[in-house]
Symmetry: C2
Subunit: 591 residues, 2 copies
Amino acid sequence: MIYRTHNLGELRKEDITKKVTLSGWVATKRDLGGLTFIDLRDREGVTQIIFNPEENADLAEKSQKIRTEAVIKITGEVRERYSKNPNMPTGDIEVFVEELEILNNCDVLPFQISGEENLSENMRLKYRYLDLRKPKMTRNLKMRHKMLMAIRNYMDEKGFLDVDTPILTKSTPEGARDFLVPSRTNEGDFYALPQSPQLFKQLLMISGVERYYQIAKCFRDEDLRADRQPEFTQLDIEMSFVEMEDVINEIEGLAKRVFQSVTEEAADYEFQRMEYAEAMERFGSDKPDIRFGVELKELTDIMKNCGFKAFSGVANSGGLVKAVVAPGSAENFSRKVLGEYEDYVKTYFGAKGLAWIKVTEEGVNSPIAKFFSEEEIATILARTGAVAGDVIMILADRAKVVYDGLGALRLKLGKDLDLINNDEYKFLWIVDFPMFEWSEEEERYKAQHHPFTSIKAEDMDAFMTGEMDKVRTNSYDLVLNGAEIGGGSIRIHNPEVQAKVFERLGLSEEEAREKFGFFIDAFKYGAPPHGGLAFGIDRWLMVMLKESSIRDVIPFPKTNKGQCLMTEAPSKVEDGQLEELYLKSTYIPVK
Amino acid sequence: MIYRTHNLGELRKEDITKKVTLSGWVATKRDLGGLTFIDLRDREGVTQIIFNPEENADLAEKSQKIRTEAVIKITGEVRERYSKNPNMPTGDIEVFVEELEILNNCDVLPFQISGEENLSENMRLKYRYLDLRKPKMTRNLKMRHKMLMAIRNYMDEKGFLDVDTPILTKSTPEGARDFLVPSRTNEGDFYALPQSPQLFKQLLMISGVERYYQIAKCFRDEDLRADRQPEFTQLDIEMSFVEMEDVINEIEGLAKRVFQSVTEEAADYEFQRMEYAEAMERFGSDKPDIRFGVELKELTDIMKNCGFKAFSGVANSGGLVKAVVAPGSAENFSRKVLGEYEDYVKTYFGAKGLAWIKVTEEGVNSPIAKFFSEEEIATILARTGAVAGDVIMILADRAKVVYDGLGALRLKLGKDLDLINNDEYKFLWIVDFPMFEWSEEEERYKAQHHPFTSIKAEDMDAFMTGEMDKVRTNSYDLVLNGAEIGGGSIRIHNPEVQAKVFERLGLSEEEAREKFGFFIDAFKYGAPPHGGLAFGIDRWLMVMLKESSIRDVIPFPKTNKGQCLMTEAPSKVEDGQLEELYLKSTYIPVK
């Protein structure tokens, strides 16, 4: 090692008088009292080095050429620091330079590494290699490594085999849109990039692997939204000879280990559990943030005979009337503010309106109060638990609109009213999701999770008789502070049940064969009972690090449009490359 | 855990009289003396279970329905085994079944799991999920896991960060052919799948990560050969502030750790080292198998004035005359056999002929002996060290033909004459590769490794004055038993040297910019000295497990034509999918 005897977070009082060699980046440089001070930085820390023209005039002269973020190597003597810095691990010492080599100087930077300026994300992404020098980003890289390593150690200890499955594979039927890869050696054919290793991991169970995991890259060519990446990293797990409880047990241990390895904060490791139906009823969400209340309250039954047509109409035609209470906000929520909340549920969730009732010491205050009897008002207050100073917000609509609208409104109130303790971490299992989901667009039932999800034993009768809405599955999502970080299910291992599911989904035997042919076949040759789940590594890490953008926990992320601003991918290719692939571009560039 | 109290490799004498629940696959089933015996198998082993109609007639009846490779769950009592099997860890016990559940029966299998029949590889790949049940394949999966985990633990201990780089990225200039992925959201543009994370890992060094590793999927759309896969797994490593010795030190520790974790065999951990030039001279190969001799011997100088025109002509016009000695084969190598060796070097390596001299107690025996004086024959014997019973084989041709031809002939002789001890493992570093390589096809110098490879300090003058053939690099390949398992180099970190390399490669400043634009820019902002290497995981594992096909160590490999026979990827897609990507297929299927 000619470049260093110590790293830059290492030197202490005990090292004083030692001759050391250090290498790193020039974080800051300043002249003071005739001396030149440099904070030299590497991955492990910062050490102050000093050039003294009285000790070595040539060297001090040479040091003037060094620019911020240059890479240098120095040799010098460790001395006790004149003005100690207790905030720095190396703050007791400084190194007086005796030899200097400028390994690489630095041009004018596009932005300051240590700067606090409000940098555009595009600049950060274009110069990602500089952005990653920022202490926060270096920490995030380290934490990502720690998280991945904690997962691997846990899975290894528990007897899971790391098995890698192909990236060049086949289209996933019934999934999102695939990325395609034209094949040159198989003329006219295409590979697809995997949306998840779902089929492969189930096949590995049929192979007898019994316990599988993989940290896998997955791909979805979806219309991009904020915080969606075309490629993402998934922890994929599958186990044989297990029931839901077995999976949940193993995973709680994993979640705890990962959390402890990444954050130094305390989590509530009680892992609450809630049925999907209850989560929807109480929180309007299948991934509720349970760090605060503001739960949804049921008013449908008491609105059936009320004098307010907008409510009674909905209540009598299969819709829902539900409320949330914004605590202590009666004085602060002006009509204007309340109008903004109404717009929020109208614009984003398609609600037709949001009613409100302010509760004061003198009684209620609401544009709709006149439609209700005193007794009805009393019932509303009792149901919602609202007290003086609160505002009751009521939504009446189709179930989906009410759940989505109030679920989102609840989260917004949580933030706006500062009801969430950001230092708190709460894990929650949501279980027993419905098997089927009615698709308004396609006017047919679809699998809510995927068609391989097993049905709860107690709902098997409902399944056999076709009561689609009553059929629940052995399924589970793990939610952390309102973010779904993972989810999965026990799978169907019985070929007859699988065939019946396809039938219920409206697939003929031929259609099922065409879509899932080789996979259905595999189940004939001794498939064990099995189940598993998948975690979104990026989102999970983001929640643990309290980052607001998923791009801050991914080493080289893409923009919302799927571009890498650093490499300028995707980009044009030559016609010859397409010809080899038996393709022609139909794109006509707009001039 | 309702499915098992023990796994199937676990029960011992001490467990006798216990009531246990077991689940697994029916490996074999046979009726004997009125009883039914099943060898029940899971990932951990095999346990014998017994159905006794005298104890439970119904159960014995039900057991008749069980077919080989069915998945069953049983509960029963552990008893001392009647006829113990000392070759089985569970051979002291057997379990008498009291309850049986057939979890999934098994159809007629396409092939027997325990069978030894010579199965076609295509059948194995089509039913990969069954092929993986074979003990050898299960072992290979476990060993792959062990290898990956050993790597990760070592890298973690040594402070390397696991950083994942994108799969959807940009074309690699100067590389092999890229796989392309059309972008839907960026009309007319294409991502490329990475051939390696080379640029990203160097950028991570510029980011200050200092120690990076990744087990990465890499992709090359090459014309497929045996043992080439379109996607492969690479251990990718990069370090900052290091020289070649630092990298080699760290990697020797890794190679040792991995070897010990995967095999129980002994390796020679001396890690010999040889310059590229010496390896070519002595073995005609940059990845010599040093477990046996048969080295190449230099005859060029002594052939310059000999009477055999074919040799003197080559020797006097810049070619080489070299020999290998096939020990003790004079009696066995008939003219026919020698003709086959000649055809081998002619057909595969373009040699014009292969001369031979048999050495006997009575003197030499060779069609070309008449062209040489006694003194010349004596010199040839002295140079080659051949003794009575040996055959000297001589090739005279262009250097490349001689090296390739004799290098391959040497390996063939090693196998044919059984000179290689297959239980021996020898690591060898090949170092100091040439920087430039003359391309006959393109009539220009190309980078032998890649244009970012740094030049040896002592060859800098030759580089500056343009003596292309004399310039060696700080580069190193790790060879295990004649297989290149990894390789890398110290990179150029100085922008001026990098610019000069591009110039020597015939790239104008504009061309270099166009190809490597953002990458060249990055070096302006404080690039540290750095270097690294990459290992081919699949090949490395193959060598350690003594497998002859790379497909036996990859969980889901593709055929030589790049097809997955199990999923039938690649496959047709719908026109609509191409339309969305602004593409049209030009492929016209041959009827």
